[in-house]
Amino acid sequence: MDKQTEEFRSGLRQGELLIQRCEQCSRLNMYPKFACPFCQSEELGWAQAAGTGSLYAFTVCRLASPAGFEEELPYALAIVKLDEGVQLLGRLTPDEDGEWNGYALDTPVEFVTAGSTGEGARPIAWFSRAGSSAA
């Protein structure tokens, strides 16, 4: 695995959402790159995301998952626009009834550290409604 993937995933395992930051021009890149798309520097480091953002779109996958995800169905995939001005795809924690009806687009969500830190957790960022107990 390449270095930035390993470091990004290592962050998730430790309950941190990392955003790549260029050491030269200080701009943020998501997803992480091998060279800064703004200044082409290969000196790239990390900034810790505040973990807060806005729910841009989500969908609940119920049927025909990729192989290996069958037991996780249904699951919600979301694009979150982080307050830092970058965005990423992640998962949404379900409401108590196992569904996602409580979520609404363009409302605040926050990174859930528990989503990626558990035993065998997938290296993907999880989000919940801002202020909900799951966060």
Partner: protein, 408 residues
């Protein structure tokens, strides 16, 4: 935003103007007994016959990829079709062009360049796909890996229907389109498919109620709003205007094109309800001097109702936010009051033949301008057709403008 647009170096009437002179197609659906190479051979012969040509007229063979098998795809790259068509020691070149669903547009750009520059005289473009007969689970997984970054998104369980779900949800919010509006798009496409003997669903009607009663696959997409993977194939022949004239062949020229690559991964698309279509349209119309009002017919990539609706709006063929409602209203259906769209039934009703879904729309556009669609699907007085391609994670939006070539 500055536009990387220049006029074409070629104008109507130039001897080296690249033109379409024939198309061939086989029926879409599930045909497990149909051989891949047989399908390619059939579309080749049909396209050549349509162009009043024989294999010996071809100097370059260009292949569009098949996604059902990398093994079989390798046959294409290694020139199997040259040998199948008896062109050993005759064909100058054989190669593949691939940009996923928008290959339909990019292959025409590539072939046009070959012909207008003189690197090729007459080019046969071939596509066949075996998705409908392939192992569904294997295909779903393959499609969940292709175009989805392994490092950042694959571990989420994202698949192609979920990409469609994300786009559809955002589009519904921004346009105020209802579930009925989007289901209505599928129904409108089916009306064209019912007139197309090559469509997967030529003989099945569809209602909004049926769509909304089908299982939820990836909210808000129901099963009947997801494209059905199909076997199918398309071929076409392009040559120079001078060659078409010498043979007295009716022809269709390329009046311009435009496009944009807006992202790679869906998680990095900043405007899901617009994608790249406005930029692509601006560039296309800038190059051609046409406007949306000059279009007689549109063939627009429709893997999902929202994908087509967003494109139709960005292209200026519907008012902002009104794409789904326009198509659902029947205006673009047979006998409708607006410009006809996706007259083969589109991917959603003719069948999603992989990279060929867009190619089938392209072939239908050429066929309509040539006046060779089956009655009553043939639309009267079609001179100018817009072809719009995208696919994968909807990373690009590509547009071609085709027009009937003069025969003076």
């Amino acid at each position: 935003m500055s536009l990387p647009v220049a006029p074409l170096n070629i104008t109507a009437g130039d001897a080296n103007d690249p033109v379409f002179v024939g198309v061939g197609e086989i029926v879409s659906g599930r045909f497990p007994d149909r051989s891949f190479i047989q399908s390619l051979t059939q579309v080749a012969i049909r396209a050549l016959k349509d162009a009043s040509m024989v294999p010996a007229d071809i100097d370059t063979v260009v292949l569009i990829p098949a996604l059902h098998s990398f093994d079989q795809q390798a046959d294409l790259v290694f020139s199997r079709m040259v040998e199948e068509l008896g062109l050993n020691r005759r064909a100058k070149a054989n190669f593949m062009v691939h940009s996923g669903g928008s290959t339909s547009d990019n292959v025409v750009r590539v072939v046009s360049g070959l012909i207008s520059s003189g690197h090729a005289k007459t080019v046969l473009v071939l596509q066949a796909e075996g998705w409908g007969s392939a192992d569904l689970r294997e295909m779903v997984t393959m499609l969940s890996w292709n175009g989805i970054p392994a490092q950042w998104e694959r571990e989420s369980g994202l698949n192609f229907n979920s990409i469609g779900g994300l786009i559809t949800q955002r589009y519904m919010l921004e346009s105020g389109s209802s579930a009925e509006d989007l289901a209505g798009v599928c129904v409108s496409l089916r009306k064209w498919a019912n007139l197309n003997p090559n469509a997967m669903y030529a003989n099945k009607t569809l209602s909004v109620e049926q769509v909304l009663a089908s299982k939820m696959v990836s909210d808000p997409l129901h099963a009947m709003e997801c494209p059905m993977m199909a076997d199918g194939g398309v071929g076409f022949v392009m040559t120079s205007a001078a060659n078409a004239k010498a043979k007295d062949l009716p022809a269709v020229r390329v009046a311009g094109s435009g496009g944009v690559v807006s992202h790679y991964s869906i998680g990095q698309e900043t405007d899901l309800a617009t994608l790249g279509w406005k930029i692509a349209a601006e560039r296309t119309f800038e190059q051609s001097g046409w406007g949306p009002e000059d279009i007689d017919m549109a063939q627009v990539y429709d893997s999902y109702a929202a994908v087509m609706s967003i494109a139709v709006e960005g292209l200026g063929l519907a008012k902002s936010g009104e794409g789904a409602r326009l198509i659902a209203s029947g205006a673009t259906s047979p006998g409708g009051s607006g410009i006809p769209m996706n007259t083969n039934g589109g991917l959603l009703s003719a069948g999603h033949t992989g990279v060929g879904g867009g190619t089938a729309l392209l072939a239908e556009g050429v066929r309509q301008v040539l006046g060779r669609a089956d009655a009553p699907r043939q639309v009267a007085d079609v001179n100018r057709v817009l072809i719009a391609g995208t696919g994968g994670s909807y990373m690009d939006s590509q547009v071609l403008l085709l027009e009937r070539a003069g025969r003076n």
